[in-house]
């Protein structure tokens, strides 16, 4: 998915923002972040910044689309939507009464879905009656609902950026508030984590189907990316779209969604990051009061599916009423493997800025492309992932022409050592990125919670420092030679109908 893809890219790039020249900063972040683990295993990271009386919250759960089985594909994301619908006390006028109607709605909706799945030639009159009954119940249900109450409360209290995102690896809920509102956040989020009510489930499922049309079906790049992923991975769940295939998405049911919630939204699977104008000790007390009683629970075993070694180049063409584009991907290891950091450097050398090799060669010299970007780490970091190239040819040049030159540049990486100046430039840029990231409360909260969740230790952000510094021109030749091969790549092309 487009925006999520961007999200993932941002995280992956930030993996190696390290500080050497301004070493004080590396030290200072480690000294400034306060880390706590509640008795139930919930992890809390806090960082005080006092420029303005505001505070940013990121709540991350180590669960995403990879944790679904194929028949419930899209559930992690649908659940994320549903958690905006309220709880037993938020979003309802009388939950006891409301629950009776909700149960009725579920009974009828499940019957309609089942008839559709089984393709049962239901008597048309019967189907029509079911649909009318459902509409009537949904109308009746409205009387008990306080629409989108969580959003309304946060908004009135000055909340901005109230949103969530679902990735392959991780699901995150975020909001920023004026700093006198910390307890409001604690109260709402502790409630959402324990007593969610998946009201308005079926209309929200329709919303997500519209989201799928918007991000994928009606967008040429969306369809290209979906096909690219499905061909890059044969076995690993990274092959499935986060939002779910159309045929699965339309029948996702509430039982499975609730079960998914109960399985994964445990305090021992949760990381909270809070950055801004706070008093750490006071906020810790608040958090203990609201969250520490939530019981921990055993989590499912780790995913044992492994993508087998690729046996040869895979190619896929997507036809569309749009101009050509292309994605090329190579399998590679993920963090904390040393080779992953080498790829971070390769990423910079190939496509970062106007001095990068792809820009100079393909855009300036050959004038074959309008853009060529690389990304290390799609589509996630919990499992071995891809080094990907996104290329857009300039008419009358074709994807295939562009491909040839791209492979030429990749071969050069294998044969000639990169210059010391190129290498130093990339390292300088990564260090500067790190400093610039420290400018925003929300950015810091995002970074801390992401690395803590995915790698198990936020310090990872800084420990990269020395590792990236160690990368040599020989490492790059070696890693390029090992992974950037024809046999190991998948090529997806968008072409005119």
């Amino acid at each position: 998915m487009k925006s999520k893809r961007k999200c993932i890219a941002v995280f992956v790039l930030s993996i190696f923002f390290l500080m050497i020249s301004s070493g004080t900063w590396a030290v200072s972040l480690k000294e400034r972040v306060k880390e706590f683990t509640l008795e139930n295993g919930m992890k809390v990271l806090m960082l005080e910044r006092h420029f303005s009386p505001t505070v940013s919250f990121y709540m991350s759960f180590k669960v995403g689309a990879v944790d679904e089985h194929p028949m419930i594909s899209g559930t992690a994301h649908l659940l994320e939507h549903m958690l905006f619908k309220g709880t037993e006390t938020l979003g309802t006028k009388n939950y006891t009464e409301e629950k009776k109607i909700l149960d009725e709605i579920d009974r009828i909706a499940v019957k309609i879905d089942t008839d559709r799945i089984t393709g049962k030639k239901a008597d048309e009159k019967e189907t029509r009656k079911l649909k009318t009954d459902l509409a009537k119940l949904q109308e009746k249900h409205k009387k008990y609902v306080i629409k989108d109450e969580i959003d309304s409360i946060y908004s009135r209290n000055g909340g901005v950026g109230f949103n969530a995102s679902t990735g392959y690896d991780i699901t995150r809920y975020k909001v920023s508030l004026p700093s006198n509102r910390v307890e409001l956040w604690a109260k709402i989020e502790a409630d959402r984590m324990q007593n969610p009510v998946l009201r308005e489930f079926y209309s929200e499922r329709d919303v997500v189907m519209e989201e799928r049309r918007q991000r994928i079906d009606a967008t040429p790049e969306g369809r290209l990316f979906e096909n690219f992923m499905a061909h890059s991975f044969m076995v690993h769940p990274y092959r499935r779209p986060i939002i779910g295939w159309d045929s699965v998405l339309q029948f996702l049911n509430k039982n499975d969604t609730e079960k998914f919630f109960r399985t994964f939204y445990a305090p021992n699977n949760t990381v909270v990051a809070i950055v801004g104008d706070i008093d750490t000790a006071k906020v810790l007390n608040l958090i203990k009061r609201y969250f520490e009683d939530i019981p921990p629970q055993p989590l499912p075993p780790p995913i044992w599916l492994k993508e087998p070694e690729q046996q040869g180049e895979r190619r896929v063409v997507v036809r569309s009423d749009a101009n050509p584009r292309m994605i090329i991907g190579y399998h590679k290891p993920t963090v904390p493997d040393y080779e992953d950091y080498v790829f971070d450097v390769i990423d910079g050398i190939l496509s970062r800025g106007r001095t990068s090799r792809f820009y100079k060669r393909l855009i300036e010299k050959e004038k074959m492309a309008v853009s060529v970007e690389t990304v290390n780490g799609y589509p996630g970091a919990r499992f071995p992932n891809l080094f990907s190239i996104f290329a857009t040819p300039r008419h009358p040049h074709t994807n295939v022409e562009l491909e040839e030159v791209i492979y030429g540049e990749i071969d050069r990486l294998k044969k000639e050592p990169v210059t010391e100046r190129e290498l130093r430039r990339i390292k300088n840029q990564l260090q500067a990125d790190f400093v610039r990231r420290l400018k925003s409360n929300a950015g810091l909260a995002s970074m801390l919670s992401y690395y803590q969740t995915v790698t198990g230790d936020w310090r990872y952000i800084e420990d990269q420092l020395e590792i990236i510094e160690r990368v040599t021109p020989e490492d790059i030749m070696k890693v390029a030679g090992k992974y950037l091969t024809q046999k190991n790549r998948t090529v997806a092309q968008l072409m005119k109908e």
Binding site: D151, P178, E210
Partner: protein
């Protein structure tokens, strides 16, 4: 050393809420919680005028070893000559990529990227922007490159040719995505006959020469025609001296700009449709609205928040998305410019509910126009806008940028100071009045992109439909390019 006095721009207040329960009582409902009220006096940057007339807003911030400069230039594509639409954009682009009198294009890129610095120039519709970001240790070097680009761009011919080729490819691709088509066509028809509605073409891009860029730059990039916002880890006196020295060779000179005509408020219902073979339609409908400098700006801002700008609880989103599941993206936007404004509702829905969604949007806007809003909605919208306002000032860079833009827009000094108060003064009666005066669902411009054959009802039920033809540019344009290539190599 002179003591730096930080003056408060103003005191900001975040309300305490209704005190229904005791602080820290876990049993209370979140909707009833109250908080210790918050006051905040954001720092204010100093306004400095250099000898040549350049205006700076300067604010020290020692948190990180960084230096940030952003500038706004009074220019824009509204000043493009009719037969050279795209000139402003290309000028901005090639200023950055085309070298300077002192430095080769590649040399600039190499030196700047080696120190992880960035300089960017861009020219939009009604303003231009320039930015510099470097580490503290590289301030001198960064300013040297930045000022050289602003004052002495070389406009290297080969970089201009490249930029034109890139732009032509962008034109070729402009019909790939349905939402791009819808927003572009909305703008084109809304501003018909006005420079704001012009779209670049292969011909207009091909007509642009290096001399055009030189003249465009010379006309607009003058010391008295731009404002700077400077923040970061420096001493104010030192940085002012540095800037004075850096730009001392740039003489004060009069700026003469013929103002572009303002868009005309002609309200007329018109339906425009473009065919795209996709499963989801993009709908945009709206019209011109009140300007930012009109007192009605505040009530209309609140009204738009309630109607479709305020997220889940706004009327359009709540009904069309949440209640009916007809869209993932649906809502409205209102942009108040200095001298005019635009209001529009947008929605993306599957082909088979396109007409239904349009009817609902019309119905919701009409009801709002006729009956106004509820007391509860008004309170929610006002509290939200007032309490979110604090996020306008979360960094030193955002503080000086705000000040710079206020001056660019010629708004009063106390504009931000009075913003919350002005919102708080909006009454029920104001909303009713501005809804009647500025909402015109029956006289809107409708743009719909999608597969009409699969719509639930024909668009002709809305009125007379004008079909937008999306030109397939494959052949004709390739020829133009070949011709162009020849003419370039002839030189």
């Amino acid at each position: 050393m002179r003591k730096v006095i930080i003056l408060s721009l103003f005191m900001m207040v975040v309300t305490g809420g209704v005190p229904h329960h005791i602080y820290g009582d876990m049993s209370g409902h979140p909707r009833d919680m109250s908080f210790t009220p918050l006051t905040f006096a954001p720092p204010k940057g100093d306004r400095i005028t250099l000898n040549n007339g350049m205006v700076l807003y300067v604010l020290e911030d020692q948190e990180l070893p960084l230096f940030n400069l952003s500038a706004v230039i009074r220019t824009g594509s509204i000043y493009d000559p009719t037969e050279r639409v795209g000139l402003a954009q290309l000028t901005g682009k090639v200023m950055r990529t085309g070298g300077t009198k002192l430095m080769e294009p590649d040399e600039i890129n190499d030196q700047l990227e080696y120190i992880a610095g960035s300089v960017e120039i861009g020219i939009g519709r009604e303003s231009g922007s320039a930015s510099l970001s470097v580490m503290k240790k590289d301030i001198d070097f960064g300013l040297k490159i930045f000022s050289d680009i602003l004052m002495n761009p070389r406009f290297d011919q080969s970089k201009l040719d490249l930029a034109k080729k890139q732009k032509i490819e962008a034109i070729r691709r402009r019909n790939d995505n349905p939402s791009d088509i819808a927003f572009r066509e909305f703008r084109r028809v809304l501003y018909k006959g006005n420079p704001r509605g012009r779209i670049s073409t292969f011909e207009s891009i091909n007509a642009i020469t290096r001399q055009d860029l030189i003249e465009f730059h010379d006309k607009f990039f003058r010391p008295g025609n731009m404002l700077f916002a400077v923040s970061g880890d420096f001493k104010k006196d030192v940085i002012i001296k540095k800037l004075e020295q850096t730009f001392q060779g740039w003489r004060k000179s009069p700026v003469s700009i013929t103002e572009a005509p303002l868009p005309e408020y002609s309200l007329k219902r018109s339906i425009h449709y473009a065919f795209k073979d996709v499963s989801q339609s993009t709908i945009v409908l709206g019209h011109l609205a009140v300007s930012k400098t009109d007192p009605d700006y505040y009530p209309f801002t609140v009204l738009n928040f309630i109607l479709g700008g305020g997220g889940f609880n706004s009327r359009l989103t709540s009904e069309i998305r949440s209640n009916r599941g007809l869209a993932y993206s649906v809502g409205s936007f209102y942009r108040g410019d200095v001298e005019y404004g635009v209001f529009a509702a947008i929605c993306m829905t599957k082909s088979s509910t396109t007409y239904q969604a349009i009817s609902l949007i019309e119905k919701i806007i009409t009801e709002t126009k006729e009956n106004g809003v509820t007391e509860e909605e008004l309170t929610w919208a006002k509290e939200s806008i007032i309490n979110k306002f604090i996020f306008t000032f979360t960094s030193s860079a955002s503080v000086v940028n705000q000040q710079m833009w206020l001056e660019y827009d010629k708004l009063p000094d106390d504009y931000l100071q009075k913003y919350q108060e002005n919102v708080s003064l909006v009454t029920h009666e104001d909303i009713r009045r501005v809804a009647k005066k500025y909402l015109h669902p029956d006289k809107s411009l409708f743009v719909i992109v999608g597969n009409g054959e699969a719509f639930d009802k024909p668009l002709s039920l809305l009125g007379e439909v004008t079909e937008i033809e999306l030109k397939n540019t494959d052949e004709s344009e390739a020829e133009v390019e070949i011709r162009n290539r020849k003419s370039t190599s002839d030189k």
